[in-house]
Symmetry: C2
Subunit: 339 residues, 2 copies
DNA sequence: CTGAAAGCGCTAACAG
DNA sequence: CTGTTAGCGCTTTCAG
């Protein structure tokens, strides 16, 4: 059996509350008390290997000191949990003495109107970080709203209490960089659907910059086709008279595929073709590092936690949607356009 | 304020214990009680949006229904947390009504002999899944042993209570497959150190199969050199008279690099060079899928949870180290050797 | 089959 | 500065 506060208090010859106050760093009375008493209690606690019971603490303090990270289990999107985000969120919470627990919700079950995921049907955390990247089920939104638990949506857009990268500004900025280098035939390309807001926003940012420059936006879109199937179609396209001189790829596999296609077409990167990627870290192949728009997974985790902590203090708050600034690295795939 | 069991009981005209038994699926008396009482209680609970307080439950049941996944924060290795493993562990636990919380431990702090990570200094979970892949700090082992909390080590070898892929058997099997195809000049290659047991074991398995076949093992080892730097050295090597006809790569970047090198050397894969990768899913480049030894991250998560659940029931158990069988997919990089 | 009583380990409020 | 008292919400004996 584990030493309880009672035992520590008895052995140290003080009362339970005294021991509690001395051993709880969060207590308002921390720093008070006679140094001798203090030291005695601490010594006894150490000797007995006293470990505070977080459940007992939770019940009296009326908070769990825990936040749940809510995730979907759908194969297609679950991989969108970045470990950087997980770690950043976990550590940001730890700094405030909170723990992080992860709760996967089965997408199939969620369609059943009678089903309520455990993380919502039980009282077990003070707030939710919801990482449903694409296709947030309407039902989940309802459930969360009804539950009234402080929640921050990560990487998806809502009326309030959400955090996401400023995809549009990022894409606009990337496009402008290409324009500044003299590019005119700049293309935006993706091989998946426009399911996620990031696809919509990246394209919008690109369009905005193009329009500002008086140029026609151009989209090369293959819906859910494997890069390998796309490849042979890209090669002739890249050697056509009106071939793009620069490509902004929605996700890592797009610029990778264009890079391969360029090689097959006998084009040099970046001399003949510039490429820009979106990725959480500088994207690279064995022999080249891509110009990359850096999705701030870490910053997103931290910002989400900061917002959530505010909401936990005051659940009536409505946090303004937070669009995070996005980084950029030049890499080796940005070149000036030839006359 | 949230509805408590008391309130539900009052409103349903029953006592607290009755309501408790009816609403706790884990209660021994579940399934008993007058159907009318039962239904009334359940209806009231639903109407009031009753949610059991897991902390209160934890305190009386003397278990937290929570398991902590312990991770290191060192940049080099933290990425070794596979999301598959996380999800598998989380869902396996959920099936038994347990939650998963993640606890990152700062490597730097861990060297301080006075420091005890919170997950160990507080009572907050029933068991630990420890995912320190490489260089498990001795101090962590001590702390865990002293703490006496049920723990399973994931992806590292210990005297007991650990789960890891059977790397040696996997590498041996992969080598035999190449031998069966007629290969003789088979090489094992890695670009990092032998820090992790998987490097040692994969090499050992390879050596075993080679020795069995009466062949000399051959290691191509670049310690902590970027693939890009290795590339130019590989090209002449692959065209030398005694060039390998097959390469087993320690981790994904190795076969990728050899594939590039082969292309630069004008060799065809798999006709001139066969490649085998180790990866948690079939490894592929844009234009090719590699023969891959599949690290069973998911199975490992599930097995770890199964073991841990046993330890939670009986903490005195010493589970035999569990080496998990490893899968294999042929891909497009396995070819017979030419005469 | 149901309820009364006790208590899990801790903290907050108040009194000394 | 320290101790007394009272409970948090739930489950578990144990009587009825």
């Amino acid at each position: 059996m584990n030493a309880t506060l009672q035992i520590v208090a008895d052995r140290a010859g003080v009362s339970k509350p005294t021991a509690s106050h001395i051993l709880s760093p969060t207590s308002r009375r921390a720093g008070l008390f006679n140094p001798q008493t203090r030291e005695r209690v601490e010594r006894v606690a150490r000797e007995l290997g006293y470990r505070p019971n977080t459940a007992a603490r939770a019940i009296t303090r009326k908070r769990f000191d825990t936040v749940s990270l809510v995730l979907g289990n759908s194969r297609a999107w679950s991989s969108l949990l970045s470990e950087k985000l997980l770690e950043a969120a976990s550590q940001a919470l730890a700094q405030h003495g909170l723990r992080l627990n992860v709760a996967y919700i089965s997408d199939e079950k969620l369609t059943d109107p009678g089903f309520v995921p455990k993380v919502l049907s039980e009282l077990c955390s003070d707030g939710l970080l919801i990482n449903y990247n694409a296709g947030v089920p309407k039902r989940l939104e309802e459930l969360v709203a009804r539950n009234r638990i402080p929640s921050v949506w990560i990487n998806s857009k809502h009326a309030a209490n959400c955090v996401y990268p400023d995809e549009q500004a990022a894409a606009c900025d990337a496009t402008r960089r290409l324009l500044a280098l003299g590019h005119r035939r700049i293309v935006f390309s993706l091989f998946v659907g426009f399911d996620h807001f990031s696809a919509v926003d990246r394209f919008a940012g690109y369009k905005q910059a193009m329009t500002e420059a008086g140029l026609e936006p151009r989209l090369i879109h293959y819906q859910d086709v494997a890069p390998r199937q796309v490849l042979p179609q890209l090669v002739p396209m890249l050697t056509a008279p009106d071939a793009p001189t620069a490509v902004i790829g929605y996700n890592p596999e797009v610029p990778r595929t264009y890079y391969h296609a360029a090689q097959q077409a006998g084009l040099r990167v970046p001399q003949d073709l510039s490429l820009i990627a979106f990725c959480e870290e500088p994207l690279h192949e064995i022999d080249i590092t891509f110009a990359t728009v850096l999705i701030p997974e870490q910053a997103m985790g931290i910002a989400a936690v900061e917002g959530l902590l505010k909401l936990i203090v005051d659940p009536t708050l409505k946090l303004k949607p937070l669009a995070l600034p996005v980084g950029f690295v030049e890499g080796e795939t940005m070149g000036g356009v030839k006359k």
